[in-house]
């Protein structure tokens, strides 16, 4: 009889531990190549869009922002510069690997926009 109770207790534990959680991934936004200040909009983990001016003086200057995101979350970075001699490269890394990237050189009109959703695989 005691064996039965032990088995039933184990089954009860199985019942209430069967929930599933979505995997979290590390996301990193990186911008480089600008030689002067530029405007950048990026999506925060909360879903809000943050816009700020990023200071830069040389192509090696790097801005980055890291956070944890669930699979399926929207990732978004969009930048624009006003200096015709400048450039902008935007990369989005997921778990350390480049997920998407985009760049422009001397294009002060077009926005460089890199976006997508955190992959499910």
């Amino acid at each position: 009889m005691e064996t039965r109770y032990i088995i039933i207790t184990i089954l009860a534990v199985i019942i209430f531990s069967s929930c599933e959680k979505r995997e979290e991934k590390s996301v990193k936004y990186i911008t480089t190549n600008a030689i002067s200040d530029y405007d950048l909009s990026y999506r925060l983990p909360s879903g809000e869009l943050k816009t700020e001016t990023i200071a830069a003086t040389s192509m090696q200057d790097q801005w980055s922002f890291s956070f944890l995101a669930e699979q399926g979350d929207i990732v978004y970075v969009s930048g624009n510069y006003k200096d015709i001699n400048s450039a902008l490269n935007i990369r989005i890394l997921v778990d350390g690997k480049v997920y998407k990237q985009g760049s422009s050189i001397g294009d002060t009109v077009r926005f460089v926009t890199v976006s997508g959703v955190v992959p499910y695989d």
Binding site: I14, I15, F16, Y120
Partner: protein
């Protein structure tokens, strides 16, 4: 995997082999008809089962010893017998139950005081569900004659009965609890919120006749789940099922624990299902993966003899469910179902029974296009909250000759949802929010009465009526563009209806072998949430955005059913049914000029608004034959057919994605009607009836009766075969396995929707090997 190992470990511990068996058939003493769904209990061992559709039951793999069998059926006197089984004995019983409502154990809310019904009612039992690779109720229902399903992905198949679908069918759980699915495209029909492994039986009542269970139009599907039940002394029991399917690497686990005593009893149940993408017979990989898990708890209290209370709570979840035939996939489903039930039964008084229930169903549905190529430009996410709260009370009065049920039911449906479009390639990440429903609600108060009478040994008849007061409202139906300007606005959203439904039927027995059933009914249903309030979504069969119409009138179904039944000791049981249905104020989509409203979905041909049209017709037949159960082999043959016709309909002619003209089509077949289907099953018992192989051959004709107005495509006929092997090791352990679609036939059902944006068919799975292991103790 742990559950699987655990199951085998438990089975190994309990695998004492023996070969004794007891089987039998239950009949009504008064009518001589078989009684299906009678409860059969065997002790020691606390084994229980229900008689199948031909009134038979069996317990296999029993040890030698003294046993007591108890047979219970609502409306009949109980039957008890004590006997001894020797090693290898096979005992067979024929039991005739006398009519007399006595008592029932537990809280079985479904009340079948009189076994007979003059209309078609199919029952699927738990043993059948456990032995096959069932994934969801809708898929399983397709086994029944004239029951089909609309497939849009791997699971969540939407049932269709005799061509009636969606809210033309009254789908409920545990006799009265309704669930409002969240998705406008019916990714999550009501049946999909019930785990198939929790189901103890499914009742399908065809036609507008069963008016006690809510608005009945095309039929009622009642999904009855396993219940907590009382025990004479404190006992604790558990059962588990572990299943695996090849092809899409599907696995499922079901665990149930129940126990208690005569006063307080409980049940805890959990399920987990995870399936990958399946491969069709032609090698095509169908994106069909899904994950589901759920758990539930029930507490029963019997404060006094004949009074039972049952409280039930269920929490279920779905994740990442693929729908290749729809523009989105279901990302998450979080559903809560709760109910409180009261049951009273006292046979010797005028007031014989009271069934009362209150319930609350809350579905939170989230879907998106993140797995679709278009999400590189626009990520669209829809979230919908759908709630249904209500209850019913049913008083049963009567004596040996008649039974009167009177009662009322109420449901309050609420639905609110939005679609958020993130334009992720544009600067500043513009976001557009569109309403799908705007705080829409429908309240329905119904009053019903049903009178059944046994006139004499030959004639029984029933008459029932139902009055529904239906009221609906919504915030203004409104769609704005990115500038905030109205693209569509309608604030005339209120409606109020009083609907009257009526049905009558009789059974006449010419002799012990031959009888006829005749039923006539008029069922009225009020329009549903989608038909009334949906705001521009492609929810129909065709390529149009659909717009709800709050001013729609109720739809009416006038139907007749005639069934001939023949039963013979040597020939088995035969049943032939014919039905004819005349639907008036039929609800369908009519095109709206672009000057009135523009479509919102890329690639659609325009906008259709739900409207009532004059009438349509449906007709068909069902044939069933079951061989006698007295042999160690048996077979069944079923054939079914439905045709639907629209006397006059407008066809819109499109060219290069634009509607350029229209024409009237006469006698156009209704869309989404399944073709002729024939099923043959044969089985044998071996090794003292512990081993049962069964073959299943399914032949489906091509469907060339297709709707011209809806640009429906024809489908080819097909033939499939399957083998199922079930083995009862002992009273604790059994297994069932087999192969479905043995010949790896590439085929698709006529009702499978096409792959979104194309005419490519959505194929059914190819060959699948499956194995289910069941443990009960």
């Amino acid at each position: 995997m742990f559950v699987m190992h655990f199951t085998f470990f438990t089975a190994a511990m309990l695998s004492a082999q023996n070969t004794s068996k007891i089987s039998g058939t239950i009949f009504s003493k008064e009518t001589g008809k078989i009684i299906s769904q009678a409860e059969v209990l065997l002790n020691p061992g606390n084994l229980g089962t229900a008689t199948d559709e031909v009134g038979s039951f069996e317990f296999k793999g029993l040890k030698a010893g003294n046993y007591e069998i108890q047979i219970i059926h609502l409306g009949c006197k109980g039957y008890n017998e004590k006997f001894r089984l020797g090693q290898g004995d096979q005992k067979s019983l024929q039991v005739f139950l006398e009519k007399d409502i006595q008592n029932i154990p537990g809280v079985e809310i479904t009340d079948q005081a009189f076994e007979w019904e003059p209309y078609k009612k199919e029952v699927v039992d738990q043993a059948t569900i456990e032995s096959l690779p069932a994934r969801d109720p809708g898929e399983f229902l397709r086994r029944e004659p004239n029951v089909a399903g609309i497939r849009k992905g791997g699971g969540n198949i939407d049932p269709v009965v005799r061509g009636f679908k969606f809210s033309q069918l009254n789908v409920q759980t545990n006799t009265g609890q309704k669930i409002e699915g969240g998705c406008p495209n019916r990714m999550d029909p009501a049946a999909s919120h019930i785990d198939v492994n929790d189901i103890s039986r499914i009742e399908i009542i065809k036609g507008p006749y069963a008016l006690r269970y809510g608005q009945a139009f095309g039929g009622v599907i009642n999904l009855i789940t396993e219940k907590a039940k009382p025990y004479e002394k404190f006992e604790l029991h558990a059962n588990a099922l572990v299943g695996f399917e090849s092809n899409w690497n599907g696995n499922k686990q079901h665990v149930s624990i129940n126990g208690g005593n005569r006063t307080i009893y409980f049940a805890l149940v959990g399920n987990h299902l995870e399936y990958g993408n399946y491969t069709a017979g032609n090698g095509e990989i169908i994106p069909s993966s899904f994950k589901k898990y759920n758990y539930s708890a029930e507490l029963g209290i019997s404060p006094a003899e004949k009074h039972n209370l049952l409280f039930s709570y269920k929490n279920s979840h779905g994740m990442d469910i693929n729908f290749p035939a729809l523009p989105m996939d279901e990302r998450e489903d979080n559903t809560q179902l709760m109910s409180a039930n009261y049951h009273y039964l006292y046979s010797s008084r005028l007031l014989q029974s009271i069934d009362a229930k209150i319930y609350y169903s809350d579905v939170n549905h989230e879907m998106d296009n993140k797995w679709r190529p278009f999400s590189d430009t626009v990520v669209a996410v829809s979230t919908i909250d759908a709630r249904n709260a209500g209850g019913r009370v049913d008083f049963g009065l009567g004596n040996d000759n008649y039974r009167l049920h009177v009662g009322a039911d109420y449901e309050d449906i609420f639905k609110d949802g939005q679609r958020v479009k993130n334009l992720i390639l544009q600067p500043k990440l513009p976001v557009k929010t569109e309403n799908l429903w705007s705080n829409a609600s429908i309240q329905n108060m119904g009053f019903f009465a049903e009178y059944k009478r046994q006139q004499n040994q030959k004639l029984e008849w029933v008459v029932s009526g139902r009055l529904d007061m239906n009221k609906a409202a919504s915030d203004p139906m409104q769609l704005k563009n990115m500038m905030g300007m109205d693209m569509y606005y309608n604030d005339s959203t209120d409606s109020d209806f009083v609907n009257f439904s009526i049905s009558a039927g009789l059974t006449y027995r010419f002799n012990k072998s031959f009888s006829i059933d005749f039923a006539l009914g008029r069922g009225v249903r009020s329009p549903d949430m989608t038909e009334r309030f949906i705001i521009l979504l492609p929810v129909g069969y065709d390529n149009y955005d659909y717009l709800g119409n709050p001013q729609l009138m109720p739809e009416n179904n006038q139907q007749a059913d005639l069934t001939l039944n023949y039963s013979h000791d040597e020939l088995g049981q035969l049943s032939l049914n014919g039905f004819y249905s005349w639907v008036t104020d039929y609800i369908t989509g009519i095109k709206v000029p672009p000057s009135e409203v523009m479509p919102q979905t890329k690639g659609v041909l325009g906008v259709k608004r739900f409207e009532n049209i004059d009438n349509t017709y449906l007709y068909g037949f069902e044939f069933m034959w079951f061989s006698p159960t007295k042999y160690t082999y048996g077979a069944s043959l079923t054939a079914s057919y439905t045709a639907g016709q629209n006397p006059e309909v407008v066809k819109y002619i499109a060219e290069d994605g634009q509607v350029i003209d229209s024409e009237i089509v006469k006698n156009d077949p209704l869309p989404e009607i399944p073709p002729l289907e024939v099923n043959l099953r044969a089985h044998w018992y071996f090794f003292d009836n512990t081993f049962k192989p069964e073959i299943h051959l399914r032949m489906v004709a091509s469907q060339n009766r297709i709707s011209e107005a809806y640009d429906e495509l024809a489908t080819q006929g097909f033939f499939t075969a399957g083998i199922n092997l079930s083995y009862q090791f002992n009273q604790y352990l059994s297994m069932a396995g087999g192969v479905s679609n043995i010949f790896d036939e590439p085929y698709y059902e006529h009702l499978n929707r096409r792959i979104i944006g194309s005419k490519a068919p959505l194929y059914e799975p190819g060959r699948i090997f499956y194995l289910n292991v069941m443990v009960n103790f």
